[in-house]
């Protein structure tokens, strides 16, 4: 059992941490969530069929993150997310990659669920449709449609933000 658990930790630890980190925006909190959820996985491992563990684990990580986000005050969340300093631009007007990445992370966190989780799972982590559907309790068709809409929504938010900064 311990060998199986170690394998799961090696196989899915990075993915779980990345999901938590992108959802929460705070590294320490993400570490706490991932630690707790892996302990929970250990306790439930006997009841999970081989192959079910990834979806189960990531669903638990996501739910734990959403619980923490709900517990935070909405006001604190919004203030923290929007970068205050002017984004640096390259000579031809493009944002530096690092700053753009940071902006993207922040705007991603403003998206409502399940769009936010869908973009993290599908676009950031390249999770397949079936696993994503199992994690989020959606049909494969819903996964595709909601991902498409969330991505477009995020793009419009990014464009608005960049236009505000340029003005």
């Amino acid at each position: 059992m311990e060998r199986r658990f170690r394998h799961l930790l090696d196989e899915h630890g990075n993915r779980a941490f990345q999901l938590a980190s992108l959802l929460l925006g705070q590294r320490q909190e993400a570490e706490d969530v991932v630690q707790d959820m892996f302990i929970k996985l250990w306790q439930q491992l006997g009841r999970l069929r081989p192959g079910e563990e990834q979806a189960w684990l990531l669903a638990c990580v996501r739910n734990a993150c959403l619980d923490r986000l709900r517990a935070r005050s909405r006001r604190r969340r919004l203030l923290r997310l929007v970068p205050e300093r002017e984004a640096a631009e390259t000579p031809d007007g493009r944002l530096l990659d690092r700053q753009r990445r940071e902006l993207l992370r922040c705007m991603l966190q403003t998206l409502p669920e399940p769009g936010r989780s869908l973009l993290i799972l599908r676009d950031v982590q390249d999770t397949d449709v079936a696993t994503t559907a199992a994690i989020l309790d959606l049909t494969p068709g819903q996964v595709k449609v909601y991902t498409f809409r969330a991505r477009r929504n995020l793009r419009h938010l990014m464009e608005e933000r960049l236009n505000e900064q340029a003005a």
Binding site: F17, E31, I39, L119, V124, K144, V145, R151
Partner: protein, 158 residues
């Protein structure tokens, strides 16, 4: 969001196209979506910190040992506590005075019982007529302490 039926739709086709694409889509909107998809993919790469990984493994090992330790503690506890709980205190030895008192009480009971039996016998026996049992005709010796005599002989003698 409302639960949609799982059927083919323009958005599903567009999403499949974005995921499958080999080149940049011709549609400007879709091309911009593809660009954002690439940027999101670039956010990947975060790794679970090694101290967290080690902490998780350590906690799992502790939890593996915990049931055995709890079972051992329970067995030890049962082995120590149950004999103590079940041990009944030895009854105290009666004193010499108590023994004499008891002996006296038993003698009184015995004497009283015998007196009661004698009195009852004296009161009842005149009223009890012994019937003819015909014991002389009984082939077996039932009451050997009472000799079986021939009543006819006694009667002739008298």
């Amino acid at each position: 969001m409302n639960k949609l039926p799982d059927h083919d739709s323009p958005e599903i086709r567009a999403e499949d196209g974005l995921k499958r694409r080999t080149g940049r889509p011709r549609d400007a909107e879709l091309a911009a979506d593809a660009g954002l998809m690439d940027e999101l993919a670039a956010l990947s790469g975060e790794r679970l910190p090694e101290p967290v990984r080690k902490r998780v493994l350590r906690m799992v090992r502790m939890r593996r040992r915990a049931p055995w330790m709890a079972a051992a503690a329970a067995v030890l506890g049962v082995a120590l506590i149950v004999p103590l709980a079940l041990r009944t205190p030895a009854p105290p030895e009666p004193s010499r005075a108590e023994t004499l008192e008891l002996k006296q009480a038993l003698e009184i009971l015995g004497r009283t019982g015998r007196d009661a039996a004698r009195f009852a016998g004296s009161q009842l026996s005149p009223h009890l007529a012994s019937p003819e049992w015909g014991l002389e005709r009984v082939p077996l010796k039932i009451f050997p302490q009472y000799p079986i005599t021939d009543r006819n002989e006694d009667h002739e003698k008298s």
